[in-house]
Structures are given as structure tokens and as C-alpha cells.
């Protein structure tokens, strides 16, 4: 993956000067920075102004069973610069109970559904989101399935339906 680490380092230095990054690292050519969750939306706004105009993805990792994890939820924002083809990964950590972070929908409209999905599957609340509802699970579903304490086969919701036999139909 041919990134240009030098140019990304300048951007990282800018963000670091403004917000004080918790961590910066590079792995397999990808640059990752960790910001505080209260600063994350502002850091993303700065990155947007510095040229990272494409929001590639917003996702979350539940570190409940991860060796050596200090926080439970890691929100990941993947950004890309369409002009120079640089990529950057921004991470923010959140904890139970009630993980909350400000929404970035004002910056990128594409974040709307991505944040809804993170709310649906992980239970992270996004303040300021115009329409925070479940996206992939049914509205009546009560749990957050992708958390590590939710079993793979579920808790019986998938078979909680009436049976229709030939006599009924």
C-alpha cells in the first residue's frame, strides 16, 4: 500500500499540536492516531479542513476479551484524502456505562447511517445525531448484538414467532 508517510506526518503533527494526541503509530504503512473522545469530533473537523474529505468508515471494536485492553470500546474513524490518496485512522476510546460521543454528521453526511449502525450493534450513543434509530436490527430488538457479552446464537429472539401450519393458511 503506497502511502506517503511524510505528508501524513505533517497532518498528524498539526492535529497533535491542537489537541494533544494520546498515541501515534504506524503499522503496515497505515498511520493511526488516538484522540480523547471529547476531542474526536473537533479533531475530525480539523482533518476535514486539512484535506481529508472522504470518510471511509466508522466502526467500533469491543475490547472486552482483548488481552491488555484498558478501555472497552474503541471507535475507529477511517479517513482518506481524495486529492493525495493518503489514509488516516483516528481512534477514540469509550467506556461503560453509557458510552457517548458527539456525532460527526454535520461534517460528513455519509456518517449518518454508519453511526446508526454503531449505535444499533454496539450501543454507543451519538449526541447530535439527527435520527439515532436502529438500522439493521428490528426496532423492537433490545440488545446490542456485536458486543462480546452477547452470544453468537442470540437469546432466542430469532425463533420468537408464531407458527403457521397448513390449517391456518
Amino acid at each position: 500500500m503506497p502511502h506517503t508517510p511524510a505528508a501524513v506526518d505533517e497532518v498528524v503533527a498539526d492535529v497533535s499540536a491542537r489537541f494533544g494526541l494520546l498515541e501515534t503509530s504506524t503499522f503496515r504503512g497505515q498511520t493511526r492516531i488516538v484522540v480523547r473522545s471529547v476531542d474526536a469530533p473537533d479533531a475530525l473537523r480539523l482533518l476535514n479542513q486539512l484535506g481529508f474529505d472522504l470518510l471511509v468508515d466508522i466502526t467500533c471494536v469491543d475490547y472486552l476479551e482483548y488481552k491488555g485492553a484498558k478501555h472497552r470500546y474503541g471507535l475507529v474513524y477511517l479517513l482518506a484524502n481524495t486529492a493525495t490518496n493518503q489514509r488516516l485512522t483516528v481512534r477514540a476510546f469509550l467506556d461503560d456505562p453509557d458510552p457517548t460521543i458527539r456525532s460527526v454528521v454535520p461534517l460528513w453526511e455519509g456518517a449518518n447511517w454508519l453511526e446508526r449502525e454503531v449505535w444499533d450493534l454496539f450501543g454507543i450513543r451519538f449526541e447530535g445525531h439527527p435520527d439515532l434509530r436502529r438500522l439493521v436490527m428490528p426496532e423492537e430488538f433490545t440488545a446490542h448484538p456485536l458486543r462480546k457479552d452477547y452470544p453468537l446464537q442470540g437469546r432466542g429472539e430469532r425463533h420468537n414467532f408464531p407458527v403457521i401450519t397448513r390449517d391456518h393458511s
Partner: protein
């Protein structure tokens, strides 16, 4: 399954202020079971006569928990599940998954493997665009176009079946290589396809590209501007038809694309007709890539060597060398496998639908701790209300078809 207006509250989200108070607007439910071939999507449309005032898309009718399964299957087992994501071009998903896994592991593939993966990925792209444009044709009434496209897809299925035994849902790639090498029969079949496909493509273009009815139905419909495309994270043909000249095959070359000569198809209009044309042109470019890669196919091993401890060794190595035997057992036994760093990485390829990437978190053993799929279809489906406002009900189908939303990739 009843639609409570208060639940959706479409009126308050309508674009015009004076519309918000109108009760005479008619709510129409479109899906999740509907004739447009894009399987389980749901749209709740608010109509004023024939004009769509607002649209509320709903998804999740095919959510199967792919990302949670990824935490329980090994990398080589999960490739079977990635087949079932974008099921129109499953091999592209396989290539994307293993591209991401190999990026996490830091594996370098052999040259032959890179060319082989390029060839099958481009054949999958042709297959995907054939069905996508075929579905646009079908939804706007051109059934013959759809049948021509499906016949060519059968030829591609035949190639894949000769290669690895399955028509689609191939699960073709493995960590460090592929499951079956190219045989002379496969190469002959691909050569035959390369020779006969351009003529069929010309026939198909003659049917629709300058067809007055089709052009009227798709030109100016569902316009996406360049700024909106970037703001809403559109990628792939949908973005390229709006003028965003981003294609990972040229911008971040992976596999064998750096050695091959091809162009990227872009348009500036951003409407359904532009997306149709971009896909048609991309099929021609993909055919060029397949022809070049096939003629320059390097010889040599297709899987990485034994020292990497990731790909199964050949039988000759297993029976004649101790490293081969050890490697074979280590990889086949359920409680062993290969080492994965405690790190996270993201890698994407240019799938036929857009940027398909996987964010994988490794935790030491060969099962991912978190396997996140970045699906292009989600963002394209979120575009839909923006594109359809002000158009008529019959344009809904044309726009939906041109976005090429695959429900399984949408919902995972």
C-alpha cells in the same frame, strides 16, 4: 409490520417547508418483497401524485450477523462467508478479505498468485456489471438485455466452475495464495471468453445505449454532484459517474494492477445514464486487463512458501521434506495455526461496487478478533433519498437499479 406515521415522521423531514404540513401526501411502501431484483430492501415513499416528496429507506431485512461470525471462524473459513456478501461477484469479496488478512500479516504474495487474483477479480467485475446493468434494463422494461447479460454470466460461471468447482460462491482465495491453480483448460476458456465477449457487449450496447426510451428514462434522473458524492462517501462507479476520479486500482495499486495498462472510466453528469455508461466502459477495460494478465501470466508457485507457515504446502513437499510435513499438520490441526500480530489494520480493494475494505483486529490466533466489512452498498443506499426527491415513482426503480445495491452486502 404496520407503518405508523408518527414513527417515521416523514413530513418533518421533507425538504420543503410548505410540504411539512400537508396531509394529502400518500405513503407508499415499496418492499421488502418487490419485483425490482435487488432483493430485500424497503422504501417508504411519500408521494404527491406521482412525484416523490421524500423517501425513507429501511434495511436490515437480510442482516445475518456476518461480523459476529467473523469472530468465530478462522481466516480461511471466513472466506466462505465473504462469498455471501456481494453475491453477484463473490470472488471480488474473497480477494478483498484475503487482501486485508495478508496486509495484517504482512505477507507478500507470489507473482503468479497476484496475476491470477487480478484475472478472477476482473472477471468478477465483468460479471457484476453485467448483472447490474442487466437489472437496470430489466427494471426499465428491457428484458432481452437482461437475458443477454445473463447468458454471458453463464459463460463466466463456466470458467469459475472449471477453475474451482463452484459456479459462484467460490471461496477461491486462501491466506497466502489460492485454492486451485490455473489449468490449461481454464486459460483456454478465458481466452475464448475474451474473444467472444466484445461482440456481445456491442450487441447489448446497440440495444440500450442510444435507445430513446431508455435514455429518456435515465438521463437527468438521480443526479449526484461531485461534492455530494464525496460528502456522502460514495465510491466506485457511482462516484466515478459524478466526476470523482478515485479508483483504488490506480491510486493505491494492489495485486498486479501496477504492471497492466488500462484506463479508468469516469463521467461528469452523475445521473443514471452516466452510471450505466461508466459500467459498460469498465467492462471493456476489465476485458483488456484480463487479456493482458493472461498473456503475461508468470510461472512459478502460486502459494507462498513453507517458511511463511500460512498456506498449505504441496503434496510433494509434505511427503519429501520435514518442514512440509510439520507445516501441513500445523495448518490443518484445529488448535494450531499461524501467528497473527496483536494489531489492527484496514485494507481495501476496488470491488465492482466501490471500495470494499475489511478492518481486521488480530489477537494472536488465526481467528479475527473483529472483522468489520466496509460495505459500499450501505452508503449508496443512504444516498437514495437525496437522489430521488422530486422525481416520479417510475424513476425510483431506475435510480435503485443504477446504484447497484446488493442486500447482503448492505445488511451483512
Amino acid at each position: 409490520m404496520s407503518i405508523a406515521p408518527a414513527e417515521f415522521d416523514l413530513a418533518s423531514r421533507a425538504a420543503d417547508a410548505d410540504v411539512r404540513s400537508e396531509d394529502y401526501l400518500w405513503t407508499l411502501n415499496f418492499g421488502p418483497q418487490h419485483p425490482a431484483t435487488h432483493t430485500t430492501l424497503r422504501l417508504v415513499l411519500k408521494l404527491e401524485g406521482e412525484r416523490v416528496v421524500d423517501a425513507m429507506p429501511e434495511m436490515g431485512y437480510l442482516h445475518s450477523g456476518f461480523e459476529k461470525i467473523g469472530e468465530h471462524l478462522t481466516f480461511n473459513q471466513y472466506v466462505t462467508v465473504t462469498d455471501r456478501m456481494n453475491y453477484i461477484s463473490p470472488i471480488a469479496n474473497n480477494v478483498a478479505w484475503h487482501h486485508a488478512v495478508e496486509a495484517l500479516l504482512g505477507l507478500e504474495l507470489t507473482p503468479r498468485c497476484r496475476y491470477i487474483r487480478t484475472i478472477v477479480a476482473e472477471l468478477a467485475r465483468i460479471s457484476d456489471h453485467l448483472l447490474s446493468n442487466g437489472a437496470v434494463g430489466l427494471d426499465t422494461g428491457a428484458f432481452t438485455f437482461f437475458l443477454y447479460a445473463f447468458y454471458q454470466r453463464e459463460v463466466i460461471y463456466d470458467i469459475f466452475e472449471t477453475l474451482c468447482g463452484a459456479r459462484f460462491t467460490n471461496s477461491y482465495t486462501r491466506v497466502g495464495g489460492v485454492s486451485q491453480d490455473f489449468t490449461p483448460l481454464v486459460i483456454e476458456k478465458i481466452r475464448g471468453f475474451v474473444k467472444t465477449f466484445p461482440k456481445t457487449l456491442d450487441d447489448m450496447e446497440r440495444l440500450l445505449t442510444r435507445n430513446r426510451i431508455f435514455v429518456d428514462r435515465t438521463k437527468g434522473v438521480g443526479v449526484l454532484t461531485k461534492e455530494e458524492a464525496i460528502n456522502r462517501s460514495a465510491t466506485g462507479p457511482v462516484a466515478r459517474a459524478s466526476g470523482v476520479t478515485r479508483d483504488l486500482r490506480k491510486d493505491e495499486p494492489y495485486l498486479a494492477y501496477a504492471d497492466l495498462d488500462f484506463k479508468i472510466a469516469c463521467a461528469s453528469a452523475g445521473d443514471c445514464y452516466a452510471r450505466y455508461l461508466v459500467r459498460m466502459q469498465e467492462m471493456r477495460e476489465s476485458l483488456k486487463i484480463v487479456a493482458q494478465a493472461l498473456e503475461n501470466l508468470p510461472s512459478g508457485p502460486v502459494n507462498v512458501g513453507i517458511d511463511q507457515r500460512t498456506a498449505l504446502p504441496t503434496k510433494k513437499q509434505v511427503y519429501s521434506s520435514i518442514e512440509g510435513t510439520i507445516s501441513h499438520f500445523e495448518l490443518s490441526m484445529a488448535n494450531r495455526g499461524f501467528e497473527v500480530p496483536f494489531e489492527e489494520s484496514y485494507a481495501a480493494i476496488e470491488a465492482p461496487n466501490g471500495e470494499l475494505g475489511f478492518y481486521i483486529v488480530g489477537d494472536g490466533d488465526d481467528t479475527a478478533y473483529r472483522a468489520r466489512c466496509r460495505p459500499p452498498s450501505v452508503l449508496h443506499f443512504a444516498l437514495f433519498p437525496f437522489l430521488i426527491r422530486g422525481h416520479t415513482l417510475s424513476d425510483v426503480v431506475a435510480v435503485l437499479g443504477s446504484l447497484n445495491i446488493i442486500a447482503a452486502e448492505l445488511d451483512r
